[in-house]
């Protein structure tokens, strides 16, 4: 994993809106292929995407591709992982800390919503296209779901009320996932940050009840 870029934003959207100079994206072939598989599957759908499409988009030769990946799925799974590595890192920075738990949740949610809003293509790739890869989807889903519930667990502190629902952590991750998925399907990913106050409230209620959740909702609205 040493060849992975430090700043994923630079390869995630190497062309277009962000106006990055082309030299910036002339990085390793692996990075270009990972960026290409995201763009191509979002544009064409996983089923109709071919390795040739990915090669064309990345400007990389077939031989190099097969040195790096077993097949289309392998490449897609690698892109999926590297994107979520980046998301996890950023959310951890915002969420893990010494402040009381509810405001840290609010911050973690803010970073998550902004991360997805900044890159609708990546959002669609991660949440929608991946569900169409067939049986491999379950393994991917399971792994990523477990990693984000574990992160939420890591952030609990003594002030966190013991959840009465044993799967409360999953409820939290589920809330985010469900909300982002819905906004992707409605083509409103860029507006995700607007949903922070209500999502903060809905996310917190099962853990801390309606009153404390209401306070954080208000804080999110004024921030």
């Amino acid at each position: 994993m040493t060849d992975e870029p430090e700043d994923l934003r630079q390869w995630r959207l190497p062309r277009g809106r962000h106006g990055l100079p082309r030299e910036l994206v002339e990085r390793s072939q692996r990075e270009r292929l990972l960026a290409a598989v995201v763009r191509v599957t979002v544009a064409k759908g996983y089923e109709s995407t071919t390795v040739a499409d990915i090669l064309g988009e990345a400007g990389v030769g077939r031989e190099s591709f097969y040195e790096l990946f077993d097949d289309k799925l392998d490449c897609m799974v690698a892109a999926h992982k590297i994107l979520l590595d980046d998301l996890e890192k950023q959310v951890r920075d915002a969420y893990i800390g010494d402040d009381p738990w509810p405001p840290r949740v609010r911050e973690g949610l803010r970073v998550t919503l902004e991360w997805f809003a900044a890159d609708p293509e990546a959002a669609r790739f991660l949440l929608v296209e991946t569900s169409t890869v067939g049986p491999a989807f379950r393994a991917i889903f399971q792994r990523e779901y477990a990693r984000f519930t574990a992160m939420l667990d890591d952030g609990f502190d003594d002030s966190t009320p013991g959840p009465e629902l044993t799967e409360a952590t999953s409820l939290g991750v589920g809330a985010l996932l469900a909300k982002i998925y819905e906004e992707i399907l409605r083509d409103r990913v860029t507006e995700l940050p607007r949903l922070l106050p209500d999502l903060t409230y809905d996310f917190l209620v099962p853990f801390v009840g309606e009153e404390i959740a209401r306070e954080q909702q208000a804080a999110a609205a004024t921030a």
């Binding site: 569900s131 889903f141 779901y145 009465e164 409820l171 589920g174 998925y181 399907l185 099962p206």
Partner: protein, 227 residues
């Protein structure tokens, strides 16, 4: 139709005892059961018409009398499965039940059905979503208004939502999907506390939802408890 049926039923060549439209329905049902089983076993993508007609014990001709193609057959199977779940949810409670109790019973019944019918659970959470991600909106439209109606049975004003019902539905769906993805489809009733909470909380509020979740766990079967 009679010709096909009599060849499958040689003892009844002269006088079929089943009226044609019923035979028709049962053929259709067999085809639907067959595609559900086949998708559960090898996914929709790998399922062929040959698999379906083999399992349903019908001819290809009969298959094409009922459906244009594999996708049309799958869509019919999806409709059928959703309809079945809705019927089970509706039959799980009686008009006299308070809304929160009715919601608890419906949620529990749906979980138990999904656990007992892995093929159905697999179809709804696997192939259906892979084929058409928007199907989750359809699941929600089949659920949230029915739930809201429980709190509005006397024709009163619409209930005020404590939390977003659409989101609660999404959360429940993610929990169930994760349970199935981790190979625990048969243990879905373990989630009854959480799913009941999510079913009750939008219109019943947090406290009521916690209470119903407790009730749901207390009434859990001994089998689900002893894990």
């Amino acid at each position: 139709m009679q010709k096909h049926r009599s060849s499958e039923n040689p003892g009844n060549v002269l006088r079929p005892t089943t009226p044609p439209d019923i035979a028709n329905q049962s053929q259709r049902r067999r085809i639907i059961d067959a595609i559900v089983e086949s998708c559960a076993e090898k996914t929709y993508a790998a399922t062929t018409i040959t698999d379906i007609v083999g399992r349903a014990h019908i001819s290809r001709t009969t298959f094409y009398k009922h459906f244009d193609d594999k996708r049309a057959c799958f869509d019919a199977a999806l409709d059928h499965c959703l309809g079945e779940l809705q019927d089970i949810a509706a039959a799980s409670h009686s008009p006299g039940d308070p809304p929160a109790d009715a919601a608890r019973k419906a949620a529990t019944a749906v979980l138990e059905t999904l656990a007992a019918r892995p093929g159905l659970a697999q179809l709804l959470t696997g192939d259906a979503i892979a084929l058409q991600p928007r199907v989750v909106e359809r699941y929600r439209r089949a659920t949230v208004p029915a739930l809201k109606a429980l709190w509005q049975r006397d024709g009163g004003s619409p209930p005020q939502a404590h939390t977003d019902p659409r989101l609660a539905f999404g959360q429940a769906q993610v929990l169930i999907l994760n349970h199935i993805a981790t190979g625990k489809a048969d243990r879905l009733p373990e989630l009854r506390g959480e799913i009941v909470y999510l079913t009750v909380s939008p219109y019943g509020g947090h406290e009521e939802a916690l209470e119903q979740a407790r009730l749901a766990r207390e009434t859990a079967t001994s089998g689900a408890r002893a894990r």
